[in-house]
């Protein structure tokens, strides 16, 4: 296709694409630019996209005004534990749903899939009152539990698992491996790429989670990164430079993970979407 496209068409295509990307990225570029400005300069027109006198101090002050380091640590902790539980239980369940034949399997799987469509708002309050009843409000354990048993993980891994050829498993069974052996020695290694996808999704979801921590966490020392930026928005609502600096910092880990594992993202969306 490349060779057949005339040069003028290519040029037009590039111009259009650059324009679209400029529009899409404009808010983020503005954010980056404003994060290096003093408050009085943030809204100055004409916009100085690259500040001539960058306010690097913004990036220093955010760590001093709000326990940002603590929040970052908390978020990493929750994310890490969630990821471990999820990879273990989801891959296990995915194998059960994809490769073990037993009565009621499809009905059970249907229940899983059906709950993906149930909006969280529907059961947010009962969940909260249950957690309240067992005195687990304001703990990280709540958030870990809520994220670990999300039906989406099982669904995603099962979709990959279905694609593993049955002959391969049958051969292993004939060689005397139990179902658990088949799972551990044959299926798990093959699921590598899909588990990577799940880990990345879990990371991004946990890192960006805002409503969960907002409902459950009260004590400042337990808060997560998103609540941290929210604190800036609430407490220092006119310190635009600071808010933008905190926002930029909160985006950096996601940018890194996203750029490094873009392929898994795209694959994960395409798989969970179209083959569902």
């Amino acid at each position: 296709m490349t060779n057949k496209m005339p040069v003028w068409k290519k040029v037009i295509l590039y111009v259009v694409l650059i324009f679209i990307c400029a529009v899409t990225l404009l808010p983020l570029v503005w954010m980056l630019s404003a994060s290096l400005k003093f408050d009085k300069d943030v809204f100055r027109i004409p916009i100085e996209w690259i500040p001539s006198n960058p306010a690097w101090s913004n990036y220093q002050r955010i760590w001093e005004q709000v326990p940002f380091l603590r929040f970052t640590f908390n978020t990493f902790k929750i994310t890490l534990i969630t990821t471990i539980i999820q990879v273990f239980t989801c891959s296990f369940a995915a194998y059960g749903f994809a490769k073990c034949k037993f009565r009621g399997r499809n009905a059970l799987f249907l229940i899983y899939v059906a709950t993906i469509a149930v909006p969280w708002q529907v059961y947010m309050l009962p969940q909260y009152s249950m957690m309240n009843a067992v005195h687990m409000l304001d703990t990280h354990a709540v958030l870990i539990l809520l994220h670990s048993f999300d039906a989406f993980g099982v669904f995603l891994l099962r979709q990959f698992c279905v694609g593993i050829p049955d002959e391969l498993l049958e051969a292993a069974r004939i060689d005397g491996l139990s179902e658990y052996g088949v799972y551990r020695k044959i299926v798990l290694p093959q699921m590598g790429p899909s588990i990577a996808t799940l880990v990345i999704f879990t990371f991004v979801n946990n890192w960006n989670d805002f409503m969960g921590p907002m409902i459950y966490l009260n004590s400042t020392e337990k808060k997560t990164i998103q609540l941290g930026i929210r604190m800036f928005v609430g407490q220092y609502s006119t310190e635009y430079g600071l808010i933008m600096a905190a926002s930029v910092v909160s985006l950096i880990p996601v940018v890194i993970v996203f750029l490094a594992f873009q392929k898994q993202f795209v694959q994960g969306i395409a798989t969970s979407g179209l083959k569902g």
Partner: protein
């Protein structure tokens, strides 16, 4: 659990323990699913059933629960904030679905070219989807600022004298929210379309070229019919996600100004964590649930019909 695992371990002993192969398979299968299912059952299924029960009760989470019959539903259906929330949710969903679908399809067609550096463009358009809502909301609030914001500055340049107040105005806030929602989600649906476009056999497209079909004809007559499943999926996901959408709007406006951007999900939140009225919150949640359930069922029905 322990018993089940024992039954499965070691391949042959099924008959020794007096179990049929069928029973053994069932136990092994269940043992794989159990660890996840326990959590799923306690944290998702029970709360969903509990929500259903709550919607017929009067409860503040503290005093004893009282059966209320349909009172909660009667209350919310007569509540003008709820009525407006339903209308606004429909407007939000309608605009978001139509515009996002068209944009994401257009973008996917543009990106689906073998040009140098095309990956960079794809990344740029997709990135807003993974960016945190809190950070994104903070920057859009500043961009949509009435007097000093960049967007109104551009509008003034284009000759608009009476610039909208966006998030500060009850008239414009909902549209501001819709714009940010489209910006944030179009990259995701573009990826779905892109995957579907890449499944279109090149031989078909090339055959079209040999027959002298122009780019538009090739798209409309060859690709678009093959994108039917993807379109179906995109529209349904968009609809469901728009009904669910919550944290972005919350971060942008918290439902305000007034109740200008109080959609169904925000209404449920307010009844829950502001009024602490578990019954009414759950009744509103059931309405949302019913709407999403109907859409999902329609999706399954139509998909089955299309497949056969």
């Amino acid at each position: 659990m322990a018993v089940k695992e024992k039954a499965g371990r070691g391949a042959p002993p099924a008959k020794q323990r007096g179990m049929t192969l069928h029973q053994r398979n069932t136990l092994v299968g269940l043992s794989f699913i159990t660890p996840n299912f326990v959590g799923f059952f306690l944290l998702n299924l029970i709360p969903i059933v509990f929500a259903f029960w709550l919607s017929f009760n009067r409860w503040d989470g503290y005093n004893p629960m009282e059966f209320a019959g349909l009172d909660n539903f009667k209350y919310i259906f007569a509540h003008n904030v709820f009525q407006q929330a339903v209308v606004k949710t429909l407007i939000f969903t309608g605009c978001s679905v139509v515009i996002t679908m068209i944009l994401s399809l257009g973008l996917a067609v543009l990106i689906n070219q073998s040009l140098k550096g095309i990956g960079i463009f794809r990344t740029a358009i997709f990135f807003p989807h993974v960016a945190s809502v809190v950070a994104v909301a903070a920057v859009w609030q500043m961009l949509f600022q009435k007097d000093m914001g960049l967007i109104n500055e551009i509008l003034r340049h284009l000759g608009v004298t009476d610039v909208p107040g966006w998030f500060a105005s009850t008239k414009w806030a909902l549209f501001g929210v819709i714009i940010v929602n489209i910006w944030k989600s179009m990259g995701y649906y573009m990826i779905i379309y892109l995957a579907a476009l890449q499944d279109v056999p090149t031989s078909l497209v090339e055959a079209g070229m040999i027959d002298g079909a122009n780019a538009w004809q090739r798209f409309w007559h060859i690709k678009w019919p093959l994108l039917r499943n993807a379109t179906f999926f995109v529209v349904m996901m968009l609809t469901i996600n728009s009904f669910k959408s919550f944290d972005l709007i919350f971060a942008l406006t918290e439902g305000g100004p007034g109740t200008a951007t109080t959609l169904l999900s925000q209404y449920i939140y307010n009844q829950s964590f502001v009024s602490w009225d578990y019954g009414r919150a759950s009744a509103a949640a059931m309405v949302l649930f019913a709407i999403v359930a109907v859409i999902t069922l329609v999706q399954f029905r139509v998909e089955k019909k299309l497949d056969t």
